[in-house]
Amino acid sequence: MRMMVRNSGGVTTVIAMAQHKSISYEVAKKKSIKPNFITYMVAKLNGKEIVYEVTMSQFVSANPFIKFSFKGGKPGDTVTIKWEDLQGKSKVSTGKIR
């Protein structure tokens, strides 16, 4: 996952993009393969406090791009983002606040 995490004036802004080929139900049926797309993403500050949480459908673009911000976090802290997809696979990435 590509992440950019910046903090200014007590607000941390995160830009991230997961790598995931989203296969919608229609495409899956046409190519008779299993549908699969990222269904859930959650971000935590220092692995503890949830700062972002989204449930996604098949209508979010492939390689989902997210941008969010939250109050708190100082340079040096870490933001971990975890995604889960329809087939149960999941991945965690960590970014350091600059």
């Binding site: 590509r2 950019m4 830009i15 993009m17 790598q19 492939a62 390689n63 791009f65 941008k67």
Partner: protein, 303 residues
């Protein structure tokens, strides 16, 4: 005494290289200057735009165009002067969707051939995409970047790649991103009579109308720059190849300039020319010369 000799010889060397280069790209320089004058007049401000855009609705001219933008932004294609396209372009370029095209290219750049060499031996300095296409006097042909890559493969007894394929696109993405990082500008040279002829052939191909739609490249990319077909604004010839290899949203992956030109041929209603043909080389040579002075900004994102 010695210093006088050296400065003397340097001067003569310089003047004769100038002399030899002077006549060959004189015509090309004039064409480029006229092109810049036309494009800058066209996008100067909405008041003088009515002359260039007789059929574009007034409010579209007022609200959806960026006027008098800096010269370098011609390299962004239609994102340079269309607000709605620019907003999406800027969003995409924050984290571009061509995800790991550059990383794949870097891997290919360092991958060893059977004989132990790699692309690093052919292109020790990867930041070179602003110099291609070059004219090779020995083979009397224009050598595009894709052809240079294939020549390197053949020289190392490897099988050449498809010029419109993914491996070529990935490698060129890496080379282009290095050139962009170095902030280099296009610097295409015409240093021989044969090169000037190739440039001229490319120019004539660019401006001759072809295909069952009877369109020339200039119909859309010079006279039609800023106008649109349905919702697709046409990109300008000036700085047109600055963003190649390009990630097209339509393709969903990066692609080389040859792949895009094949697509253009089809749009014109013509059997596309072979990517490694002389026709394609001459055309790219002309288009690249027209982008001289514009910063390389690739891989880029387009419609």
């Amino acid at each position: 005494m010695l210093s006088k000799v050296i400065t003397g010889s340097v001067l003569t060397l310089l003047s004769c290289s100038l002399l030899s280069a002077a006549p060959y790209n004189a015509q090309a320089k004039k064409d480029r200057a006229a092109m810049i004058k036309y494009m800058e007049a066209k996008f100067k401000n909405p008041k003088t735009a009515a002359k260039f855009f007789p059929y574009t609705p007034k409010n579209e001219l007022e609200h959806n165009f960026i006027w008098g933008f800096p010269f370098q932004e011609f390299g962004l294609g239609d994102a340079g002067y269309v607000k709605s396209v620019r907003a999406q372009f800027d969003n995409f370029m924050m984290l571009p969707p061509f995800y790991n095209a550059v990383d794949n290219g870097e891997a290919l750049y360092h991958k060893k051939f059977a004989n132990g060499n790699s692309f690093a031996t052919c292109f020790p300095n990867p930041a070179i995409t602003n110099l291609y296409p070059k004219f090779d006097d020995k083979t009397n042909r224009v050598v595009t970047l894709s052809e240079a890559v294939n020549n390197c493969l053949i020289k190392n007894s490897e099988s050449p790649w498809k010029m419109t394929g993914m491996k070529m696109a990935y490698l060129e993405s890496y080379l282009a991103s290095k050139t962009t990082a170095a902030g280099k500008k296009f610097d295409i040279k015409i240093q021989s009579a044969a090169a000037a002829k190739a440039y001229r052939r490319g120019k004539i191909e660019f401006y001759s109308q072809r295909g069952y739609l009877d369109l020339s490249c200039a119909t859309c990319h010079v006279l039609g720059a800023g106008k649109r077909t349905k919702a697709d604004y046409h990109s300008p010839l000036l700085g047109m190849i600055a963003g190649f290899p390009v990630y097209r949203l339509k393709w969903g992956h990066v692609g080389t300039l040859e792949k895009r030109l094949v697509g253009c041929n089809k749009n014109q209603g013509e059997v596309p020319h072979k990517p490694n043909s002389k026709w394609m080389g001459d055309l790219e040579y002309f288009m690249a010369y027209m982008s001289n002075g514009i910063k390389v900004n690739a891989p880029s994102v387009r419609k």
